[in-house]
């Protein structure tokens, strides 16, 4: 733990880049408007599988302003060197414009580059493509699957057979699209062999390495810049094919090119959370203690890459005490584009079947669902045998039940009414593992006592700029406004992907390390400087507060950074901080208990969420004001998953029918009632040096099952698929 006083961390600081965002000055990728930039529009395939047999670009090329129309007919062969980084998957990434094959509906088949956006879009509509379609498969339920990933402990089959209570249940989860408000956008510019890219990305290094590999150039020749990201939720972690298209277009057209995917193209031009079929059998004794569970999962992937959600099998192994477990997860290759992690990947998928089934068991046995979970609370992680670093799930439930008024709930379903509305309350557990990754940060403290801290991470909305400024402020002993945090540029020190809730732990720890080094340099300078009031003091006893070094317990004995550096003719002090996660000797997860109250129109089946509460054990909370927003946002996302979001595919040609925001519904303001989040006070010092467990993912996990369980309590109807539609309740 840092010896420094905690002044900024834990305080409700307002977003440091807030002013830029509320005035429209924050520059997102598509906001780069350098003159001379050409615009690109992508033509996508209208079949799911087959070959391109004709491609007539004459009309498009004849349009005024059109510079180039590029397709497999005239595109250069691109090296597409192997790239094990950039979150590439087993299989081979989609190669654009390299042959006549069509692998999914919406695959890019040509790009038009023009001097204006209007010309590019219009000309793209004039490209006439002919295909020979082949039979395609886009339906998860009927296609053959890959070999499974499996797990087993104990003898689940025998334990199920002898269980006092046994439930065999099948759950279905729809495909979901991240749909960040900012569409994927990229601006590419070649200066000779050097490529500069303004990208919407959660990981500038991912874009850099992938473009370097695709074009067969040195990563050092590629610079990627991404200061603001308009939401991503996992969707901008990989570098998608349109980035290659934009870079190719710029090279062919001989000028910078801007490419912004249309909202429709976001449904197949980038990844999505895959659809699942999840069969779950659980057995328990009459007290509700689980004896066995069997999990059989099928999820969709593309034919060219195998994507399986990391973590989807973890909750089934470690969330509740269960001596006998078997699991099998099969991916099902379809003629679709490749899925990708979406907020709370894996864990939020598994939460729906597991938390629904636990609720079903509680109802079956007449045990309160919270009490049933308590009876299955494990003492250690049964999958790894490791102790938990911290696990305060019981406390989440205690606090949540009290705050939510759980004791007012009549355990019998369909008993509470408010006029035409059936009222129900439900709960579910949230869990997500604490990820950490190596990172570096550069810290420079100048003689005025202000600091610049840099790391090539990202801020897609959680508030990286702000929370890192808070960590740096405390470690340096200065105020938050004195810190400038820079991110989103490959010229900055290396950082991992901004995803999986690992940013605070990883970048936060490296920022703290870098700032500690600089502070210690200053202290060393002072205690060794005869002219300093701190001369001869024990360095370990010196702290810095408000830009002033002083001996702990003797505030009068000290001086400011400014005095110290000026007197010593130092313009600045600097250091590079680094963080390498220690080998984990504990099972580290963030937890939460999610409570939902819904009203269901008894005649129309319409579900309205009335209120929600999330209580989280996420370790230390660096930035409470922003953490609250994250949790509220997670609940809103979960309401969408529970009640609205799903992709409708026409299996005849693989077309996504509702590829727009008018028909792929996401929550709007009127859908969202009073939401409340509580973070338990605490820290997890085994997790990382700053004691955080990550919170961006866990706040989404458990929301959908809490709503589904509330719907059951309101109506007595158990819906085992998401989203829950009015017709399911009629």
């Amino acid at each position: 733990m840092s010896p420094q006083p905690q002044a900024a961390v834990g305080r409700p600081v307002s977003r440091v880049e807030g002013r830029l965002k509320v005035t429209g000055q924050a520059k997102y990728a598509a906001d780069q408007t350098a003159s001379g930039t050409a615009h690109a529009a992508v033509v996508d395939s209208s079949i799911a599988r087959g070959r391109i047999t004709g491609l007539d670009t004459a009309a498009a090329e004849a349009c005024p302003g059109v510079l180039r129309v590029i397709s497999h007919r005239n595109a250069p062969t691109l090296p597409y060197l192997p790239n094990r980084g950039s979150l590439n998957l087993p299989g081979e990434r989609l190669h654009v414009f390299q042959d006549d094959r069509v692998l999914f509906h919406g695959q890019p088949v040509a790009v038009v580059v023009a001097t204006t956006l209007e010309a590019a879009q219009h000309a793209a509509s004039l490209v006439h493509v002919q295909y020979t379609a082949e039979p395609s498969a886009t339906d998860l339920t009927s296609a053959p699957a890959d070999e499974p990933t499996t797990y087993a402990r104990g003898d689940a089959a025998a334990a199920l057979a002898s269980a006092a209570v046994r439930l065999d249940l099948t759950y279905r989860l729809s495909r979901m699209h991240h749909n960040p408000m900012e569409p994927h956008a990229i601006v590419t510019r070649w200066d000779g062999a050097e490529l500069t890219v303004w990208d919407k990305t959660q990981w500038v290094q991912s874009t850099r390495d992938e473009l370097a590999a695709v074009f067969g150039i040195n990563p050092a020749s590629v610079r990627v810049i991404s200061p603001y990201v308009g939401g991503a939720f996992g969707n901008a972690a990989r570098c998608w094919p349109h980035a290659t298209i934009a870079a190719l277009a710029a090279r062919e057209a001989g000028r910078p090119v801007k490419l912004v995917l249309t909202r429709r193209q976001l449904y197949f031009g980038v990844g999505y959370r895959p659809a699942y079929e999840y069969r779950l059998s659980i057995g328990s004794d009459l007290q509700g203690r689980l004896t066995a569970s069997v999990h059989d999962l099928r999820s969709e992937t593309s034919r060219y890459e195998t994507f399986a959600e990391r973590g989807v099998l973890v909750p089934g192994r470690m969330l509740y005490t269960t001596p006998n477990v078997t699991q099998s997860h099969r991916t099902v290759p379809l003629d679709v584009n490749t899925p990708t992690p979406m907020r709370g990947p894996g864990y939020s998928t598994a939460a729906f079947p597991i938390e629904s089934a636990v609720d079903e068991l509680a109802h079956e046995l007449g045990i309160d669902p919270i009490e049933l979970r308590r009876r299955n609370e494990p003492e250690n992680d049964q999958a790894s045998g490791l102790p938990f670093s911290t696990r305060r799930l019981r406390e989440c439930y205690t606090v949540g039940a009290r705050e939510f008024g759980w004791n007012r709930r009549n355990p019998k379903p369909r008993t509470t009414r408010d006029g035409d509305w059936l009222i129900g309350m439900g709960v579910a557990t949230a869990v997500y593992d604490t990820l950490r990754a190596p990172a570096q940060a550069h810290v420079r403290l100048d003689a005025r006592g202000t600091a610049v801290v840099e790391s090539a991470t990202s801020d897609m909305g959680p508030g990286t700029y702000t929370s890192m400024s808070q960590v740096a402020a405390d470690a340096l002993g200065i105020d938050v406004p004195q810190v400038t945090f820079r991110l989103g540029d490959t010229t900055l020190p290396q950082a991992p992907v901004h995803g999986g809730s690992l940013t605070m732990a990883s970048i936060g720890s490296t920022v703290q390390d870098g700032c500690d080094r600089v502070r210690q340099q200053a202290i060393a300078l002072a205690v060794g400087d005869e002219r300093s009031p701190l001369y001869g003091a024990d360095p370990a006893a010196v702290v810095v507060y408000d830009g002033r070094l002083h001996v702990k317990g003797d505030p009068a004995r000290g001086e400011t950074y400014r005095q110290l550096l000026t007197r010593n003719d130092r313009t600045h002090l600097e250091a590079t901080g680094s963080y390498t996660p220690a080998q984990s000797r504990a099972s580290m997860h963030a937890y939460g208990a999610v409570f939902a109250e819904v009203a269901v129109d008894a005649r129309l089946g319409m579900v309205r969420v009335r209120r929600m509460l999330g209580v989280y054990d996420a370790g230390r909370i660096i930035s409470p004001k922003l953490a609250d927003s994250q949790a509220i946002g997670g609940m809103v996302g979960g309401i969408g998953a529970a009640l609205m979001e799903h992709t409708v595919t026409d299996h005849r040609d693989g077309r996504i029918v509702n590829a727009n925001l008018a028909e792929y519904l996401v929550p709007v303001n009127a859908d969202v009632p009073a939401l409340k989040a509580i973070y338990l006070n605490g820290r997890d010092d085994q997790a990382d040096p700053i004691g955080v467990k990550g919170l961006g993912e866990v706040v989404l996990v458990g929301v959908a099952p809490a709503v589904a369980n509330a719907v059951f309590h309101a109506t007595g109807r158990r819906v085992r698929h998401l989203p829950i539609a009015p017709e399911d309740l009629l």
Partner: protein, 203 residues
């Protein structure tokens, strides 16, 4: 006055299987309004008058300019006037990220053809602050943390200014209803409501 075009504004987002021409023909047959010249053969279209003059005020500054008839107000602001505060979230009227005020009314600028705005008075998010002094709703967004990624924020704020002017701030429910044309995928809704409440209270 703004035209809420039934045709996707700048030539994108066509239902699959329809070319631009057949789609326009279909909407024209169905009584939809189309810009003249678009039904012509491509070669003729190239020669037909595809540009128009428009003179309008944006954030107090007068602009007289020639625009491509296909250009939406949003693209005019972003690509031609360099005002990139207004965002393109869907280009189809479904998300509100492009909301601006035209003659005091909130409109989705992605569905508003620029060439039809002669004499209009447009206010974007860039035009709300008074020098360094933020508009009360901008300040309220910061105070309430009514933003995360910030991409929907310009549209939310302009929409909120409209909502307050329209007097739709009588209750949280009323604000929620009248702010529901603006999607926030980060899920800031409860805080957006509080920010609108805060700013409305000061009026």
């Amino acid at each position: 006055m703004p035209i809420e075009s039934p045709v996707p504004a700048a030539g994108e987002e066509y239902p699959a299987g329809l070319s631009r021409r057949t789609f326009i023909a279909a909407t024209a047959a169905a009584g939809g309004a189309t810009a003249s010249g678009l039904l012509a053969e491509p070669a003729e279209a190239a020669e037909a008058a595809e540009n128009g003059r428009v003179s309008l005020t944006v954030n107090g500054a007068r602009h007289a300019t020639t625009v491509d008839n296909r250009t939406s107000l949003l693209d005019l602001l972003r690509e031609h006037l360099g005002l990139t505060g207004s965002k393109k979230g869907c280009n189809a009227g479904a998300c509100g990220a492009c909301t601006v005020l035209v003659d005091g009314r909130r409109v989705v600028s992605c569905l508003t053809l620029a060439v039809r705005l002669n004499g209009a008075d447009v206010t974007t998010v860039e035009g709300l602050a008074d020098g360094d002094l933020l508009h009360p709703l901008q300040q309220a967004f910061i105070d309430q943390d009514a933003l995360q990624c910030g991409f929907c924020t310009p549209g939310q704020i302009v929409s909120g200014v409209g909502c307050i002017r329209e007097g739709h701030t009588g209750s949280r429910e009323e604000i929620r209803e009248w702010m529901s044309g603006n999607i926030c995928r980060c899920g800031c809704y409860p805080k957006i409501v509080r920010a609108v409440e805060q700013a409305a209270g000061r009026k």
